[in-house]
Symmetry: D3
Subunit: 254 residues, 6 copies
């Protein structure tokens, strides 16, 4: 059974539309320090989305739409290696895709995000698509969705969770494809980077130049291992599998 | 010493610009169940913002800009009593105001939000204004900023924190002006409303009709008291006072 | 009887929607010379709107929406103390609010403006909302609406009517709250400021730098008195009361 | 000496840019009752603009840009025969043209309007272009600019001034080309059409269906004559000639 | 029989709407070298559109809408003499006009373009208007439509076809009005200008500064003659006449 | 040597920026008849782009950016299976990505398109990015770039070139992965589908319902073979390799 939407025909897509879930991975193409590839965020989201879909495919119709590799990354532009969409453009892309799906009678869209800079925008798109188009939309950043379980596995102890291009993300890429991580990875003795405005902080603080002061990663990549990455990915996949299933079961569509 | 920006002259505004903090309260005008006024969110944000500014005014230059009473509330339009801005319009308003301030050489803007539907949008505006205009921007939803302290005070036990038009918000309005709460307030035996997609959920789920199914409030207003509201407001004011102060002190502006 | 929309519940708002008038005051937050507060335009519009609503409240359902304190003020940005919305953003705000009201079955919206830079934009919004949403919309700048009566009272003799931050507006603020006017007010021996492109000129002429050449006020604030301000406000309130009443009575809504 | 900008070469255009005035006629293509052509407003603006330029051409460099035949006419769409631009599109066209001129070092732009629905929008464009691009911009609706003189000639007695497709505009078209007026023109015994929200009213009132109730003209076309039209056009041309000259002379460009 | 839409009344426009074709000429106002007028592209499109309409007027209802003299010409801004619309604005104009026509029950719109920079945009507008508004839309650049016949007549041998301000366009203007061509025309010994990214190239290549390197014309104007221009125009008119007729006959509107 | 941009680090990306070419494949996710996958256009563009980059990688720095799988496909929405971006959104994505690259000092961008509905839009983006950002941009639809060679190989004889979901595209997918083509493919005895407005037609004609009348493919998929597909792909890759090389060599960047 195929789970990649791009490989389905229009007729095959109808089963997903009528009574299934379409998963849309969104990521970014942006600098990830001197050691990680610029596609890191997209790779992670695509991987967990596809694995969750594979796990669910015998339960109900499910497919994974082509990954949107470009996200909202203006804070990384000064480093180079970054291809960013404006916040408004990124939102317009999600709205257009959601409207297309509604036009094709899709009932459920699940957005899986791999990049912090998209986090707020997927939430807004989810709300506005549900209201405007009458479809059910779920949205999550996969590491935020699995925060509790990842923290239980120690992911918040080796560095920020998720941070940016630090121990967590370096572990993920090591697990996905160790040849993509340039060695030696930079080492940082402690969590020395200044607090950068993030989603989960009680107050979001944005100061010009704060990212530049970090050399583009928030905590020490040297603490990463492939084994940890495999653990984190498994947690993410399990949680996403569960979340998509609940989204499908709890559906109040007729 | 005046703390309302609207009451300052242009010359007086320069002290805030040069070495102070301008606080911008943003809220909403939207249905809050059958018992609370539609201005609830704006009233709360304005109140805590002004009180924090008053507490800070002898430490450094601070003022409170006129409250933006209109927010992003499309999910409340079906109930009536709601005047909402599109997400894009709301974002454009914040960007235009921030650009005006940068043009006038302001260095620090602190956005204090009182409405859940604005939460993501103030974060995006903070990030993009700092990057584009080179000013320092802080942004928070006041009850999210003080979540830990409010929860310690039991606010998450009488209902959702903050929920919508439930025990928490009803307590706030009782404390602000008890005549604004229509009695008898509706009672709901338990936390019966279906989970509505919110900021802090691991997965944000938006289903058409979920708000309509709640009669517009998320938990029981009958559990609210003015005394609780006063406690919550004091917590919010104290936390905001502290946060604005830290924002000012930690400034890396020259 | 409450006349502030923000204080009504959604149920109470329905009487206004069904057979009443919602008044929306719009102003600006912008420099008003060295002597007047930056909120001058908003304060004036809010005051006359609320007073007119109070006068009408026993005749038909009426309420005053929260004041929009931010207007289209790009010409004042060079002076500082100004928080301006782009023309397109300001128009989008009015359209969004009008659409929200139409969605809630409101039939009549009356926009009361206090800032010259908004004058054309409220007219466009009124036309387009009526056409697009099928609601009745009235729009006026309060001093332009009452121009004949104000001129009869001598307001065009002590300075421009309304001018900007000159004798007329200084009188208004003296009447509203004399402590808001910084003394000594600047004196200007004659109407010396060059003609600045305004709504009522036969030809609108906009020359770069013309505002800067005026020090931000168009005629002599020293000619203002609180007594004159009270007279002007009373005229504005009476005329607005009459205009809203006629708007209500002449309604061709079924 | 050529006065049509379209006929100039780029080199010839430089004299206008450096020390002259470019006049831009804007009109509309919209229904004008059963008797007048849909191009009425554009024809009038183009005619007076070209005649004024011809009168000025030996005094200083002047040219007339190609007429913008499409304006903001949503209120006439229900009648048919109307090709309208959205308010935002019309404004964008004016801004783009002004930016092009600034890019080519033009210093003075004079917008001559022939359609009421554009009146506010040309004013906004004038203000924003001067501020953003640092060029001098004048803008007028030709009949509003010459209102005093036209009224002195009795134009406000035979019908509204300018009204729409009534005695005034019918006179203009009779004078331009009598074969363009279909006879017999409709007759209306008195000024019977309900007040339609216009620029010069103290309060602008927009009610759905008010235009449809008029059959598309505001006062009696039967009162028009070609002789009156010639008088009105001469007044418009003389006033515009004077206004453009004053705009040129009073220029504060270096 | 009148063929200019601007000269029709709204009633007369209905025959075109119901069972005819409205032709919309679009051009540009932009530099055309040192010898041709800036209105060249608009003049050509208007001329062939009107001549084709005249040839068709006794077969079915047809009219020519007012020419849009402003197109998408950002590549010519550095030369001066250019009034350009942004790509988005130009597209918005076409969409707004098409929507107006659909609102007035027009069934067929034929866009005739005279400027290379508009070529792609008219195609997008045609597609999107047909899909969104359910009207039939044809679009062509007149020299591209007639490319085969023009090439057969040798137009591709004296220079580029169409090129810009070279032998082809200079011939056209000589034929339209020889006094509009400044003599002596520049001579260029061979096709020396570097290849500039155009519609018909297998790969479109855009390099900064490539236009500036040409002095604003692509091939030698000295090879133009009025006789050639008359031949080219006749070919264009004949082909357009045929194309509009086929568009009308092949219509699948009911 | 890695050629996938997503796999590079920010430091490695600098060689491409400084003196190389970044290739951006753009496609679509849209219905392709009952037999081809919805990702067909994206798959083709990605394949030829990567193969060309591989062939060039030892000559100069080159990389392939992540494929944009979503294009401008409104004409396919009625069939289902289509996720489309509005024309304006698609253009905004390309502009944002190009601006990001300019910000990171990239000098050359080559857009390789696989979907007809994007053809005009990539041209506009190429022009406007080069003008606005001062970078060199090439853009092509790969089958249009190689039209001559593909036609020489007979590709225009088995069906339209490229057509949509017909013999040409079916051959391509058979060559890429034969399991993606559902058998039996539909057969169509002749080129029976009505002419659908396309890029290369002398006149672009868009009639509502014309696509629906085709069942979503333009010519007979039954004529496709994997061998033909391999031939076509090789031609496309060779031509693209050559075109990118010429773009690099002919660069007038300093």
């Amino acid at each position: 059974m195929r789970i990649l939407f791009a490989e389905l025909t229009r007729e095959e897509s109808r089963a997903i539309a009528r009574d299934g879930v379409l998963i849309l991975p969104v990521g970014a193409t942006e600098q990830h320090g001197p050691h990680l590839p610029v596609g890191t965020d997209s790779m992670g989201a695509e991987y967990v989305a596809r694995a969750a879909a594979a796990a669910l495919a015998d339960r109900f119709p499910v497919a994974v739409a082509p990954t949107l590799w470009y996200g909202s990354s203006p804070h990384h532009l000064p480093f180079g290696g970054t291809m960013s969409l404006d916040a408004g453009t990124f939102l317009a892309v999600l709205m257009d895709l959601g409207r297309s799906l509604a036009r094709a009678s899709f009932r459920r869209l699940f957005i899986v995000n791999g990049h912090g800079g998209n986090h707020e925008l997927i939430g807004i798109a989810a709300r506005d698509l549900a209201l405007e188009e009458g479809i059910e939309v779920a949205a999550c950043s996969w590491w935020a969705m699995a925060h509790h379980e990842l923290a239980s596995a120690g992911a918040a102890e080796i560095g920020r969770l998720p941070g940016h291009a630090g121990a967590f993300e370096s572990s993920i890429v090591l697990a996905l494809d160790a040849t993509l991580v340039r060695e030696p990875r930079p080492h940082r003795p402690e969590w020395s980077s200044p607090l950068i405005g993030t989603v989960d902080a009680p107050v979001r603080i944005e100061r010009p130049g704060s990212w530049e002061a970090t050399d583009g990663f928030t905590d020490s990549p040297s603490r990463a291992t492939a084994a940890l990455g495999r653990t984190y990915l498994k947690i993410g996949i399990d949680r996403l599998t569960e979340a998509v299933s609940e989204f499908y079961m709890g559906s109040n569509a007729p």
